[in-house]
């Protein structure tokens, strides 16, 4: 078609008065904008604003109930939830559904393997194209998901929160690939809750609020605070709560030279009542693996773990729960929440014992507890009986936190607690972790976002290659020092 705008740049994707609803509520209510060749458009909005739904409408996965999407070029998308086949290899996943075939219809494996390797190389991901997907860490899986989209010869690339699991370095490489794509005449829609990143990489930013496009402006004219204000419709001040004074309480957990196979090779730390200990490290430094070991999901092969001064053997997740350890996993889809269950059923999943009387579930109390969390975290849903898979990604994360909390733990391990959560709600979660620590729960916080780590933790343990590389607190606690320790580079 070749519509021209201003007689200069081609419009690749034109969305006109798009409306979409699930049942009675309007999720998108007359959204119009166009995407030009050679631009990166940021799309931001609160949890449940309708960003992912917009992507699904463009990809024709959801049928809009009004308006049009005009597009006559190829569109590739990375969806918020993973769409990878666990039992296939990396290159097979990357070429899933568009396998290269030679004569007689046979697969051209070596060529696919080579192309996959080139694509991963471009993204700077050290992933073997022959690796089984189950052997990859979650950030490596995210890289595979990205490669699966960028390898398509498309003109428009849509990315729904691709960077939630990536650290600064990986995100930087992703941005380089996006810019290269733009400069070659493509267009990108980039969705993220990390507003600083959005402003850094995007040319224009569109803001969605409750299904309505409230603003589209060039990113140069905006600051993250202004953008956050546009998203939530009110002024947002400081992102982090005031730091807690260093914890002086009793020791709750002591790890002495904890080991687990090749992933964790000697980690020692002490966790005080009311303290928040951050854990930093590069991808593959064994942070999540350490958390899994503490929680009995990974077998501990050496060292000791003490709780309240007593050595404990934790060999299963139920042991950990019984000892009062809660674990918010980084992969909520796989190990955090049940999509088939309602909000209330998810909230009480590990604490159901408390809602029984004479062996029967007290539904009234269960619903009241769930309603309480919905209010406290501002979970956007139709009620406690809403199925979790009908909630937006960020709202699912809030329910996952509520679930762990409801078990009333002594030790709470957060692995990427604000993954996919919008700015306003992120502040709520920070406040909440803060209050939790103040009430005496010992918190362990794993986080790839250094700003978040520095904002929340009074003490940070840096890990390198499965070992404790050092502790930082007070004046030494800054981004530079963390990076020095994490990479092991001598100053």
């Amino acid at each position: 078609m070749g519509t021209m705008d201003d007689g200069r740049r081609k419009i690749l994707l034109d969305i006109d008065a798009l409306k979409c609803s699930y049942g009675a509520d309007m999720v998108l209510d007359g959204v119009s904008f166009s995407l030009h060749a050679g631009e990166i458009l940021g799309l931001v909005g609160e949890n449940g604003a309708g960003k992912s739904t917009l992507v699904k409408c463009v990809m024709k996965l959801v049928k809009p109930c009004g308006g049009r999407v005009v597009c006559d070029c190829r569109v590739a998308a990375i969806h918020q939830e993973f769409n990878l086949v666990r039992d296939l290899r990396v290159y097979e996943n990357i070429f899933l559904g568009r396998e290269l075939r030679g004569r007689c219809g046979l697969l051209r494996r070596s060529r696919m393997r080579r192309l996959a390797a080139v694509e991963l190389e471009k993204l700077g991901a050290a992933v073997d194209p022959d690796a089984k997907l189950t052997d990859l860490s979650i950030s490596e899986r995210q890289m595979v998901e990205i490669a699966k989209a960028t390898i398509v010869d498309s003109a428009v690339l849509i990315m729904d929160e691709p960077s939630t699991l990536l650290n600064a370095e990986e995100t930087g490489r992703l941005f380089a690939v996006m810019r290269g794509f733009r400069d070659a005449g493509g267009a990108v829609i980039y969705i993220s809750h990390k507003l600083g990143e959005v402003l850094a990489v995007c040319d224009r930013v569109a803001v969605l609020r409750d299904g309505v496009l409230v603003d589209v402006s060039p990113s140069g004219a905006l600051t993250p605070v202004e953008l956050a204000g546009k998203m939530v419709g009110r002024e947002l001040t400081c992102l982090f709560p005031a730091k807690l004074p260093p914890a002086e309480g009793e020791w709750v957990m002591k790890a002495e030279d904890v080991r687990a196979g090749a992933a964790v090779r000697g980690v020692s730390f002490e966790l005080r009542r009311g303290g928040i200990l951050g854990i930093a490290g590069l991808a593959g430094s064994g942070r999540s693996e350490l958390a899994e070991t503490i929680c009995g999901i990974r077998r501990m092969t050496g060292g000791t773990l003490r709780l309240f001064g007593r050595a404990v053997k934790i060999t299963s997740a139920s042991d950990a729960a019984a000892h009062g350890i809660a674990f918010l996993t980084e992969d909520r889809q796989e190990s955090g929440i049940l999509g088939d269950f309602t909000v209330a059923e998810n909230v009480t999943l590990s604490s159901l014992r408390r809602y029984l009387s004479c062996g029967f579930i007290r539904f009234g109390r269960e619903n009241a507890a769930a309603a309480d969390y919905i209010g406290k975290f501002g979970v956007k849903c139709r009620g406690t009986g809403d199925l979790l898979r009908n909630l937006s990604g960020g709202n699912q994360q809030k329910v996952a936190i509520a679930k762990n909390l409801d078990n009333r733990p002594h030790v709470f391990i957060f692995d990427e607690p604000t993954r996919g959560v919008d700015v306003a709600a992120r502040r709520d979660i920070y406040d909440f972790i803060h209050d939790l620590a103040a009430s005496g729960v010992a918190c362990l916080m794993i986080c790839s976002d250094l700003e978040e780590l520095l904002g929340m933790c009074g003490r940070v343990m840096v890990m390198r290659e499965g070992r404790t590389a050092g502790f930082l607190s007070g004046g030494e606690l800054n981004e530079q020092e963390i990076i020095y320790l994490a990479t092991g580079v001598e100053r």
């Binding site: 997740a317 674990f327 796989e334 190990s335 049940l338 088939d340 269950f341 999943l349 590990s350 029984l356």
Partner: protein, 308 residues
């Protein structure tokens, strides 16, 4: 609203079918016919209740028909050893049947939950083992009961058992932590495990209970027929039970289950067979109709699932 429709769906289908039968066929206007139907439904129905739990937890049990025959044979072979009055003989047979069923169920449960054998394969294996053990103990023949007390277990008792167990299992599935955990394991085992649920124990229990119900059903059957055949009885029960569970709206991939749906499913399938007989449809065609009903039921549920 949708939830209510989901629960009532199979019952509405049953009501519709009965209405059609009543209009078209005089025998369906006779109340005695329903007692007959209920009795016929009971043997597979009781087993299907357990199967609902197994499937809701993401498993499958193919061995129920063989275990049914094996526990019946065990009970009738060993009960006379206890001698005594007919009453004691009846009691001994009942205990033995349920005990043998539980033991068989425990074997299935251990294979799946402890040794992590995929359920389809584990129970395919025990299906053939249980059947062959039954044949061995009974010399491939029929074991007779020879106990006048067996006639105490009438058709009414059978129907009462079905209703009683259905009520018990409905409560268990919907109102207890066990039922909730069964669905959690079926929905996503890893999430259940990470949430501190003893997933192995839950899976074990579903097979154990199903085994016990096979024993109960075998006892009722032997009482009614005064014996049990080691070769023919219980043949194809696994498919009937699974069909009832599916028609009743339980998800084959686990996570969602309806006990009352299963009950409606059993009654629906029995009514269809009985109507086909009454209308003189060739017995060779009966399974065509049954198969079609299963497929239609699933299509209907799938459409509903996507539409929401």
């Amino acid at each position: 609203m949708r939830k209510i429709f989901g629960v009532l769906g199979p019952w509405l289908a049953l009501a519709l079918l009965l209405a059609v039968c009543m209009i078209g066929e005089a025998s369906f206007r006779n109340p005695m016919n329903y007692v007959m139907l209920g009795r016929q439904a009971a043997y597979t129905g009781i087993i299907a209740l357990g199967m609902t739990l197994v499937i809701a937890a993401g498993g499958i049990d193919l061995s129920v028909g063989s275990l049914f025959a094996l526990s019946g044979v065990t009970a009738l072979e060993l009960a006379p050893e206890f001698g005594g009055s007919p009453g004691i003989g009846l009691l001994a047979a009942a205990v033995l049947a349920v005990g043998a069923g539980l033991l068989g169920g425990a074997v299935n449960g251990a294979l799946v939950a402890v040794w992590k054998v995929p359920p389809f394969i584990a129970t395919l294996g025990t299906m053939s083992i249980f059947r062959s053990l039954g044949l061995y103990f009974a010399d491939a023949g029929r074991v007779a009961a020879d106990n006048p007390a067996f006639s105490l277990v009438s058709g009414d008792v059978t129907i009462a058992m079905l209703v009683g167990f259905a009520a018990l299992f409905t409560v268990m599935l919907n109102l207890t932590a066990f039922g909730r955990h069964v669905c959690a394991v079926g929905s996503n085992e890893k999430v259940a495990l990470y949430s501190g649920i003893h997933t192995g124990r839950i899976k074990f229990m579903t097979y154990l209970l199903t085994g016990g119900l096979c024993g109960v059903s075998a006892m009722l059957w032997s009482a009614r027929l005064n014996g049990i055949s080691s070769s023919g009885d219980g043949m194809g029960y696994e498919l009937d039970a699974i069909a009832a569970v599916i028609v009743g709206g339980t998800s084959m991939s686990g996570g969602r289950a309806s006990m009352s749906g299963t009950l409606a499913g059993v009654l629906l399938l029995v009514t269809i067979s009985s109507a086909l007989v009454a209308w003189g449809v060739s017995p060779n065609l009966q399974n065509t109709v049954k198969g079609a009903v299963i497929i239609i039921a699933v299509l209907f549920q799938y459409k509903k699932g996507v539409g929401k």
